[in-house]
Symmetry: C2
Subunit: 430 residues, 2 copies
């Protein structure tokens, strides 16, 4: 093995007709991309193919021709639709033999549930010659690890809860020992409140020089509603140097972008804000209209958030704004439900009723209907009343679908709170 050149490139092939045109996020490719990069193996392409033997054979053969490692996920079950094992064996021209220990193990799994193993499950025990069988404690389909003419082929079950522990325990080690001394190092910055072109303009002169350095740092900018991500990556055989270079690169970006940067490691806004609140013993409550509960739902996605989230009111109707939050009907009549004074009154109301450090008020028009020439769809007023009782208020005009506007509004509201906490401390420190 040591005579072989190191494994550097990989392709992932996901097998299953149900994956074509699926609405589900392909978490396996994402997971494998990260894990392979950590081993110094670059994911060059990924493919999704139905249960057709012919298509899979061609795609697998072609991938094997292009890259050093081919990872196939799914299609390892006992039925006729599960073609991966057969196709890989026949493309590599490996004869199959039944592995008695796998048959026994599958039989035990069934008998523990008081059932007989259906004959069809014997297929799962067929092993191509020379393949290493990968145990699957979380399902019936074992994986396979095959070395073939200096390349590696890995077959993994499709369900993430079977695939991930199998990769971690049984695949990462053998792959890493064959991938040479280089590794791929990554870091990511998350920003909010500024557009993609602003971010690009501010950092392009900085990152463009990194491409010329040895080894180069690759920079990728990804824009999503409410958030711009800046990804940096670097291939190196020196972990200490690589990490130091990424850290100083990140610092250069932070210096250029200032407080638009909210996360230095990919943690989402709700977690960043949650930690700021928790570490300072601060609490938060929210009164939401157009975001319909999403602000607090995001905050409470974080484990342990009950330490700082007190409570909230979803005040979709004017009556709820008055009954639950004490917003005066006259104020609503004078300024309209979507207005800065009403947002402030909502924030004040929820804060004083719950005794929270921060009270949030969000009112707006998420669309697609309800807009007017003065207050078009996407108009959102956000108010935050802080520990000193002073209010910070702003009106945004957001673009996109209803759910994009809802998300963006909650992101902006969390960012106002984040900046109030961070700026306050910056002032205190001077």
């Amino acid at each position: 093995m040591t005579a072989d050149r190191p494994l550097r490139t990989a392709e992932v092939i996901a097998v299953g007709s149900e994956l074509l045109g699926s609405t589900r996020l392909d978490t396996n490719s994402l997971y494998l991309s990260e894990k392979l990069a950590a081993l110094g193996i670059e994911l060059r392409a990924k493919a999704v193919v139905g249960d057709s033997r012919d298509d899979l054979a061609k795609i697998f053969r072609q991938a094997l021709d292009r890259v050093d490692v081919v990872v196939l996920t799914g299609g390892l079950g006992p039925t006729d639709d599960d073609v991966t094992r057969d196709v890989v064996g026949s493309v590599l021209n490996l004869p199959f033999t039944e592995d008695a220990s796998i048959v026994e193990w599958i039989e035990q799994r069934f008998s523990r549930r008081g059932m007989h193993m259906p004959e069809v499950n014997r297929r799962q025990a067929m092993v191509p010659r020379g393949a290493i069988v990968l145990d699957n404690p979380n399902g019936t389909a074992p994986g396979l690890f095959i070395e073939h003419e200096g390349k590696v082929v890995v077959l993994l079950p499709g369900p993430p809860r079977e695939l991930q522990p199998m990769f971690e325990r049984l695949v990462a080690g053998p792959l890493g020992s064959r991938s040479g001394s280089e590794r791929i190092y990554n870091t990511v910055l998350l920003t909010t409140g500024r557009g993609e072109s602003h971010i690009e303009e501010a950092i392009q002169p900085i990152y463009s020089t990194w491409r010329e350095e040895t080894p180069p740092i690759e920079t990728t900018i990804l824009a999503t509603p409410g958030q711009i991500e800046v990804h940096l990556s670097l291939r190196s055989d020196d972990p200490v140097k690589a990490k130091a270079r990424l850290t100083s690169a990140r610092e250069a970006l932070v210096a250029a972008l200032g407080e638009a940067v909210f996360s230095l490691d990919g943690r989402p806004m709700e977690q960043i804000l949650g930690e700021l609140l928790r570490d300072r013993g601060l609490t938060i409550s929210a009164a939401e209209s157009c975001t319909g509960g999403l602000f607090l739902s995001r905050l409470t996605d974080v484990p342990g958030s009950s330490a700082y989230v007190l409570s909230g009111v979803v005040a979709y109707s004017n009556r709820a704004k008055t009954d639950f939050l004490g917003v005066s009907p006259d104020l609503i009549a004078a300024h309209g439900a979507v207005s800065e004074p009403v947002a402030v009154a909502m924030a004040d109301g929820i804060r004083s009723k719950t005794g929270a450090s921060f009270g949030i008020g969000i009112t707006g028009i998420a669309g697609p209907d309800g807009g007017t020439p003065e207050k078009p769809v996407g108009t959102v007023a956000i108010a935050v009343v802080g520990p000193d009782g002073a209010a910070k208020v702003r009106t945004l005009l957001l673009a996109g679908s209803r759910s994009m506007i809802k998300f963006w509004a909650t992101q902006a509201a969390m960012d106002v709170v984040r900046k109030m906490i961070v700026r306050d401390e910056a002032v205190c420190r001077h």
Copy 2:
């Protein structure tokens, strides 16, 4: 053209390094899969490839070898990273010429913003011989439609808001006229409240016979937390017969699955419930603990939901349960915050305070901490008080991550309301 055999199969190739290892949902493939199926063209595989010319050339050449239609998305911009146009032209061996009208059009786009067109944008005007240029009113990158030796190659811009109108206006027509008389017809059922194996067991004897019929109906079962989807599809040249067969197939499944089926067309639960409420002039309010606002956030994702969503309280703390909802501290002390009596008191409280037809109370342990031997993580009590003031209450034990438990709890709560409305009418009708 008429001499050519009809286009039946397709592959989608998404180009862009940022798509490998991205956390984003690949909406383009999903969109194209549905649109191509509607034209009778089956998506056989999809691929994602970085910006490497070499990789893309190989993957494109291989796709062209396997299928009738290759759709490439992304990589049409003006920079060196945008390799799609060049690679396709060189694999097909087509010489490029600059299209003066595209140059002019891009120049106008820039001058409207008071800018000069950068020289680099000329690349976007290079057109392979014989290609039809597809206008892009929503961006600078035009698409291309190329017929080549009986096959079709389509180049589309990556952003969905540019890709979708271009496909709809300029690609669907020409593709449809070359795809013969067969079309692929689909339908989908959504169920909740029963596990995948229950659904499979109930319908397997039914759908297994459909595979033997001519033409066969393909059945796919997809499980996600809180929801099982049953997809049916059929290739036919007779739209009336095809739709009638799918309708009767769907009816056979509904008869077997009963009220577990909540959607006959893919509309999500929040929309189904919203329409039930709106059509009957009913209203809803919710008191949420462990779901943290997600119940109302989902309901208010639906446009027009302000007609039936009144308001809600996120009562994370015991104090909020008492202050906002009038839940007695003694009740909480006697049964614990996560209990059926407290869920009922929350539902009663929010209903009477807001005057809604339905009041919902949800209290549980979303984890990962906070479980006890009697009430482990995933324990959720759900209460619904209906228009007659009677309560329906149930306790679930849900599995999975915190956000899965939150979603599942909101799905189950919506399903209780749905069944109360539907059953009530079933009773009245008899």
